[in-house]
Amino acid sequence: MASGRLEALDRLIEAFGRLPGVGAKSAERLAHHVLKSPPEEALALAEAIRQIKERVHHCRTCYHLTESSEELCLICRDSSRDPGVICVVEGSRDLLALERAGTYRGVYHVLLGRLAPLQGTGPDSLTIDGLEERVASGKVREVIMATNPNLEGDGTALLVANRLADSGVPITRLARGLASGSVLEFANKEMLADAFSGRQCF
């Protein structure tokens, strides 16, 4: 052990350093912050981390996060939601964003990632098998692709659509293009091209 180093502190710095977007400097700053903070505050953080690992798990049907002893998430348990329409998202954060809009009344399927083979995420890392089973049940009338509108998101939607093609269930995707509140003049040509290809009946 190098002179003057504290093993426990190093371990915490290392743990913070593994968080996304946290560099070596920030990890050190965070660890020293924890060290200086009152014990109850630091232990509350530790407890929150412990609980999220112990109490939060993926919904057995849609893979959204759910708490405690329930097998199904709140949305899958909600009888006012339409189980015949499934909206496919990459992650739970996307689901939460769509829920904040408050207009969608169907259910979801969370893929737990996106097809990103350059980063080592292949088709087998996603929850497409579960989606296929749901669609094969015969109760689904529409699958809406709500993956991110970038190449990896589009590729993910393509993969899912290919896998569901034989089911005969209509597959749609969220419209894209012009942002509400923006002006045509400042839209770039990709946005305008998307807006044209995604146009709807007036």
Binding site: L151, D154, L158, E190
Partner: protein, 248 residues
Amino acid sequence: MPSVRTLGLVVRTVDVFETSLIMTAFTRDLGKVSGLAKGARRLKSPMQGGLDLLGVSDIVLLHKASDALDLVTEAVPVERFASLRRDLAALYAGYYIAELLSDLTDFHDPHPRLFDAATVTLRHLGEPLLRSRRVLRFELACLRELGLMPVLDACAHCGVEVEAEGDSFAFGLATGGVLCPSCRTGQPHVATLSGRTLGAIRALASPGNAWRDPELGPGSLGAVRATLGAVISHHLGRRPRLLPFLGA
């Protein structure tokens, strides 16, 4: 602060902090470059769309001090390749091209011809009949441009003209090409190629239209795929991540 503008193909992006990303592009004039695009993932970012993977963009980089990451200050989309969004096999081939450009080239080592070969290949990945040949030709262009092209006509070790033994040739993956019978022994990683496979590699590597010849059937293309995959794995020091996703 000097800034440069160049055409670049985005080959890698990594999300950092809440709204930024670090992009790596293979540019026409500067070779591989990386830069931090601050706020690029924000909804109203002027760079939105210009930093999507496998898109060609007009990129402006601001050079920072030698130890800091350059800043991307503009990225305007110039070309996107529609087939990547329509055809999964084309998408995997496109990702493979990105992997080669990202991991086989060095920073600030420009190869305009390789950039052009990449964009031409990406434009045509939607044609299923010639797709695998176009990818193989791109791999060969990559090896040639980077000075890694296997020797196909003479012994890679001693330079004598190599005759087929029966119908097979010894091919040194580490030596970098075909081997004559006397040099073969003692060389590591030697594969045996049929005359047909070697002929197919030569056709794919040559200018002109020999690579389109329908006689280069799927049988020999499979062997070419395996050979070039092994050559590239050797230079990369690992198997390319996308290799298992490519059809022969």
